[in-house]
């Protein structure tokens, strides 16, 4: 009797998997050998961190009303307006990307290109570009947040549109409804929950992002943070970080609560 050995994967699959691990290992080894890291910096990092935190404590709470509050409100406005701008810009791109709504491959492809290029460029880089165009301030920040979010919102919205049930749409078409009615009464009720979910999720992300775009001059609390760091006012830095932490947590709680109610 010959004994048969059962194996889960074919030799080719095992070879492919092994070569992925091998490639990852080689990449890590090469990177570790060639990256310019000074090991002494790593050894005394804990001491340096402890020193930094000791200088941060206690946070300068008196600075809140003089320097932080207005830029915190500005940050929230940038996040909110940036999200709204993104949704307005993403809607036509999503309609164009959905194959069941726009049955033109060239337009689908163009929409995909817009979505991918929006996501490949980081928010900070978008912010740098728009600071060069509109000058420093909240306008540049809002547009940067908006442009960065097109990719995210447009992709998810386009996928939601593609998953729509064609039944109601065919019914509307058979009744001779104009295309605006088909979009508003056929597609919109089906994608509305996804739309609100995407908007809330992106707003949550944008609150985090709008807190840092000020580092390149695009408005919000990041500008106050940048100033405080450049002046080595560590107690103010601590206060600003605590405030950013607080609004991020509050945004997350708000999003969770609203999601539970509407979805």
């Amino acid at each position: 009797m010959t004994s048969r050995k059962w194996e889960r994967f074919t030799p080719l699959q095992r070879l492919a998997r092994f070569s992925v691990f091998l490639a990852a290992g080689i990449a890590l080894a090469v990177s570790l050998r060639t990256v310019h890291v000074v090991p002494e910096f790593l050894y005394d990092a804990p001491t340096q961190m402890a020193d930094m935190f000791s200088r941060m404590w206690p946070p300068d709470t008196g600075y809140y009303w003089t320097g932080v509050h207005s830029s915190l409100v500005e940050t929230m406005h940038i996040a909110g307006m940036g999200t709204i701008l993104a949704l307005i810009l993403a809607l036509p791109v999503a309609l164009m990307a959905a194959r069941n709504i726009t049955p033109v491959p060239a337009l689908n492809w163009l929409a995909k290109l817009i979505l991918v290029s929006s996501r490949s460029v980081n928010t900070l880089v978008w912010a740098i570009l728009f600071v060069a165009v509109f000058g420093p301030g909240a306008l540049a920040g809002t547009i940067a947040i908006g442009f960065r979010s097109i990719g995210f919102c447009g992709k998810l919205l386009g996928e939601a549109l593609e998953e729509c049930n064609p039944g109601p749409i065919e019914a509307l078409k058979a009744a001779g409804a104009p295309w605006t009615s088909i979009i508003l009464k056929g597609y919109w009720p089906q994608v509305a929950p996804a739309f609100w979910g995407i908007s809330l999720f992106r707003w949550d992300i944008n609150v985090r992002e709008s807190a840092v775009i000020g580092l390149v001059g695009a408005g919000g609390i990041g500008m106050a943070l940048d100033t405080a760091i450049n002046l080595f006012r560590w107690n103010q830095v601590a206060l600003i970080l605590l405030c950013i932490f607080a609004i991020v947590i509050v945004a997350e709680i708000v999003v969770t609560k609203i999601r539970q109610r509407i979805i």
Partner: protein, 261 residues
């Protein structure tokens, strides 16, 4: 048939209408308080045209510097992903509520929450102050970002596994590590590879940015080119970043194809 029996198919939702009006009012208020104006927007478009004009054609003559920076960016992403994934494995395991007692999951969950709460750029600033300029600060930043992301997803993946193999192993008297390796890991390995490739992709995108605050990689060169109004070099850097990110996405898709069959 009475009129009341006819249900209007699309009845007006006053709550939603009031909501839309409030949203419009908020937009007007925010636009006013952020000091947006049409004139500023139009002059900005003018600037934008000049800016784009200065960006073209992209200047690739300093390609050696560009390639060196791209390699450093890639190195930061690779090292940070490797260590981030390696650390988030045990942390995610400890954070899984179905395997660990509450006293163990709480600290792990708190650590994951702290790693997620701040934007990577803020971590980058703190680490640049702590360990000095250069790629080390970027690597530590992205390791933290990876723990925050993969640790959370990995803990959730473990919480969704079937407990039957775990019980079988325990009933057979297997020690704790065997339970992990034989009953838990085989169920989550595929998803874990997916998270790891996704995180490599995310780290690659973020490692192009941490340089803006001095944490190594191509971001520093980008910010310097911007501040010196070196816009044609800026265009070259942007194009190479996009190419690098696309390459990373392509690599991630290959790895996923190898493991998902």
């Amino acid at each position: 048939m009475s009129a009341a029996a006819v249900r209007r198919p699309f009845k007006a939702n006053w709550g939603a209408r009031i909501g839309w009006v409030l949203l419009a009012l908020y937009c007007v208020y925010a636009t006013w308080s952020l000091d947006f104006s049409w004139a500023r927007f139009v002059s900005g478009l003018d600037n934008g045209a000049r800016f784009l004009g200065a960006m073209f054609p992209p200047e690739f003559t300093r390609w050696r510097m560009l390639v060196d920076n791209l390699i450093e960016t890639l190195e930061i992403a690779v090292i940070a992903s490797a260590f981030g994934v390696a650390f988030s494995l045990p942390i995610g395991l400890v954070a899984a509520r179905n395997l660990m007692p509450t006293w163990a999951t709480w600290p792990a969950r708190t650590l994951i929450a702290i790693c997620r709460s701040f934007h990577p750029v803020i971590f980058a600033i703190l680490f640049v102050k702590a360990v000095g300029f250069g790629p080390l600060a970027g690597i530590i930043t992205l390791v933290f970002a990876s723990i925050g992301f993969i640790g959370k997803l990995f803990a959730e993946a473990i919480e969704e596994i079937s407990l039957k193999p775990v019980e079988a192993c325990r009933a057979a008297g297997a020690p704790f590590m065997s339970v992990i390796f034989m009953a838990v890991l085989p169920q989550v390995l595929n998803r874990f590879i997916g998270f790891a490739t996704y995180q490599f992709d995310a780290n690659l995108r973020n490692s192009t940015m941490v340089g803006i605050v001095g944490a190594g990689g191509i971001g520093g060169t980008l910010f310097a080119a911007f501040q010196r109004f070196d816009y044609d070099f800026l265009a070259a850097i942007l194009l190479s970043i996009i190419a690098l990110v696309m390459l990373g996405e392509y690599l991630a898709s290959i790895v996923k194809a190898v493991f998902n069959d």
